[in-house]
């Protein structure tokens, strides 16, 4: 997927005025956020559960090499084929090769963020193979000229039922309908024959279980089950960090993931796959391939961003983020939006290609509070901001301003004089209304609001006076 993260500011500005998008985003606050809060309250001691989830993910990462080797050994023993991909293009090559060797013409895809990350659909199309997205949201995006998703769990949060009604009417040539249930049935009926005809199913994996060599997916629609049951080949594509030690460990994480994502105690389907179809079975894929993708993950393990690898992709951080709620996921310009995207995008595509993202935050720590595996997201953003400064990636006016401020702050007498002057000038600018309508050097901020003028004296002046 193309990286357009350096357009964050302009895209965010455009999205603020997009009424349809704002309506969809508004629903997050009354639905996703409320549903999670109810599920957490119903569970009881969710804080202890979060700590348990963090420990399980830390355990897996602390011995990641060993758990990956064990996973590979067990999966291979059960007849799966394990592939390793260093980067996006290698991941695509592996999947395309499997498809070519087996004469695959169509691929039924269950939702996979890693497949978005590596750009699998484009690679398949280039090889003359038709990918069919089967998750309802992803399907809507695919038939809308392969629009990118704007949320990792709810990919079409930016669209209304009216948008989908127009799209289905145009693309399917069916009578226009706006009821979500009727639209869902229409997609089901269009996609069912495609499932039955698909040669290969591609899924992600929410977890890999080292103990048994199994992949696990959580889904609600049932498309994940269809993709992994009907076609003669199944390819599971996922990141190397997704491994957990045991079925008991994954049971704990499965208490955290759906509650954090959608407020469900469990998703409709939790499917564990171990090896291909057995001789006597009447369904299931004849071949089961697992593609383990690095694409920057091992590098994260070595550095200050290691805690980000605990992420289980629930989307709670974006649902609770005031910036995401205001501008929507497309502003992030790559696969992962919201606070997780502020860390993952610069980490995977380079800070210079996502230079605004560590600043796309208010540092309110709502994301850190709701994260099911306790990733300290604002701390990680702060570290990336430091790196921005160290590498000179900030715009020069900002660097110059901060350098001047730093120089002055180290000279208390000069600093006191400067601030005394500044507050008096600002008081004068405020006039009788005591409001500054236009801030020099910060017009963007004062375009939409007034700046309250200071009273005319600095804190240090007032403090000195009170002590006397």
């Amino acid at each position: 997927m193309d990286v357009r993260s350096n357009e964050f500011k302009s895209r965010a500005a455009a999205n603020l005025g997009d009424a349809k998008l704002q309506r969809g985003l508004g629903l997050i606050k009354v639905k996703a956020v409320v549903n999670r809060a109810n599920a957490v309250a119903e569970f009881g001691d969710f804080e202890t559960l979060r700590e348990a989830g963090k420990q399980i993910r830390n355990r897996a990462l602390a011995d990641l090499d060993l758990y990956l080797e064990r996973f590979e050994r067990e999966a291979t023993a059960r007849g799966a084929v394990v592939h390793w991909a260093e980067n996006a293009s290698e991941a695509c090559c592996i999947v395309v090769d499997i498809a070519r060797q087996n004469g695959v013409r169509t691929v039924a895809k269950s939702k996979s963020m890693v497949s978005e990350e590596v750009g699998l659909n484009d690679a398949l199309i280039e090889a003359g193979i038709e990918p069919i997205e089967t998750d309802l949201g992803e399907y809507i995006l695919q038939i809308n000229d392969a629009e990118p998703p704007s949320h990792i769990v709810m990919p079409v949060i930016h669209k209304t039922a009216e948008d989908v009604a127009d799209l289905f009417h145009e693309k399917h040539g069916t009578p226009r309908k706006t009821d979500p249930a009727a639209l869902t049935r229409e997609a089901r009926e269009i996609l069912r024959p495609k499932f039955l005809a698909a040669d290969m199913g591609v899924s992600g994996a929410n977890f890999l279980i080292a103990e048994t060599g199994s992949t696990l997916i959580v889904t609600n629609e049932g498309n994940g089950r269809l993709c992994t049951t009907l076609p003669r080949l199944h390819v599971a594509l996922t990141g190397i960090e997704k491994v957990v030690p045991t079925l008991e460990d994954v049971s704990t994480l499965l208490r955290l993931l759906p509650r954090s994502a959608t407020g469900q105690a469990i998703t409709n389907y939790v499917s564990l796959h171990t090896g291909p179809k057995q001789l006597e079975e009447t369904d299931g894929p004849q071949q089961f391939h697992i593609v383990l993708v690095d694409n920057g993950r091992a590098k994260l393990l070595a550095g200050e961003m290691r805690e980000m690898l605990r992420c289980i992709r629930c989307g709670a951080c974006m649902n609770h983020c005031p910036v995401y709620q205001a501008v929507g996921g497309h502003a992030w310009g790559w696969v992962y939006p919201g606070p997780m995207g502020n860390i993952l995008t610069p980490s995977y595509v380079g800070l210079e290609n996502a230079v605004q993202l560590p600043n796309a935050a208010t540092m309110c720590n709502q994301c850190g509070v709701v994260c099911p595996v306790k990733i300290p997201l604002p701390d990680l953003m702060r570290k990336l901001r430091e790196e921005q400064m160290d590498r000179g990636l900030k715009p020069w006016p900002e660097r110059l301003g901060l350098a001047l401020w730093g120089w002055a702050a180290q000279r208390p007498a000069l600093y006191a004089l400067g601030t005394r002057l500044a507050v008096r000038v600002m008081k004068w600018l405020g006039g009788n209304e005591k409001l500054i309508h236009r801030l020099p050097l910060a017009a963007g901020w004062s375009d939409g609001r007034d700046f309250p003028a200071p009273a005319g004296r600095t804190f240090r002046e007032l403090y000195k006076e009170k002590r006397r």
Partner: protein, 214 residues
């Protein structure tokens, strides 16, 4: 160098491994002990909990005293809901008297146009109101997936408290997981359009559970 070795090499460098190959004792101990993590308090009776949770997830539940009463319950359910009185069932259920109840149940692989699928289950998880289905020659996965109506038979003696108990039962009776383990919690659903929950996405529209027990 293969990609596998390159990736594992980077991971080992990141973890500052001193010896090669690294000692697996620590992971062996954890994989052998398989400690059970945090579970919610068990302040309920499993059968009642299962029923309550399953109904909260939009499944319907009824109870019959023995397996021989199942075909009658199935036909009553189908007739009440104006559904076809035939479909596909697991081969493991072929010995039930479907014909005697007036049902046309075929123990063959499910097709895309089957409307009713009848299955059993390996066990059920009370905590979340969930069915646990194992793939196999006599218990094919598609029967609970392709038809619009899924009817599942659950023996009350097979209701366990938590998912961890289901894994323990699986290890005790089967040793290891089969090709597919599917946990099913109600009819398939989606909330992709305007976050409006809609039943019947790609899987069943209806899940009816028949509890069998005293």
């Amino acid at each position: 160098m293969s990609s596998r070795d390159a990736i594992l090499g980077r991971v080992r460098a990141a973890l500052e491994r001193k010896v090669s190959p690294p000692d697996t004792a620590a992971i062996d101990a954890h994989l052998a002990a398989r400690p059970i993590g945090m579970q919610p308090p068990r302040d309920w009776e499993p059968e009642l909990r299962f029923r309550t949770r399953a109904e909260a997830l939009a499944s319907t539940v009824e109870k019959v005293p023995g397996l021989q009463a199942v075909p009658g319950a199935v036909v009553r359910y189908l007739v009440t809901h104006k559904l076809p009185t035939g479909g596909v069932c697991w081969p493991s259920l072929r010995r039930l008297d479907w014909i005697g109840a007036g049902l046309g149940m075929e123990d063959r692989p499910a097709r895309g146009d089957d409307l009713v699928g009848v299955t059993g289950c390996f066990c059920a998880v009370a905590d979340t109101g969930t069915l646990m289905l194992l793939s196999g020659a006599d218990t094919p996965a598609a029967a609970s997936l392709l038809p619009e109506t899924h009817i599942a038979i659950v023996e009350t003696a097979r209701i366990v408290s938590f998912m961890e108990d289901a894994w323990a039962l699986l290890r005790a009776e089967r040793g290891r997981p089969p090709r597919a383990v599917n946990f099913v919690s109600g009819p398939s659903r989606t909330a992709d359009i305007e976050q409006t929950v809609t039943m019947g996405a790609h899987g069943p529209y209806r899940v009816h559970i028949i509890l069998v027990g005293a």
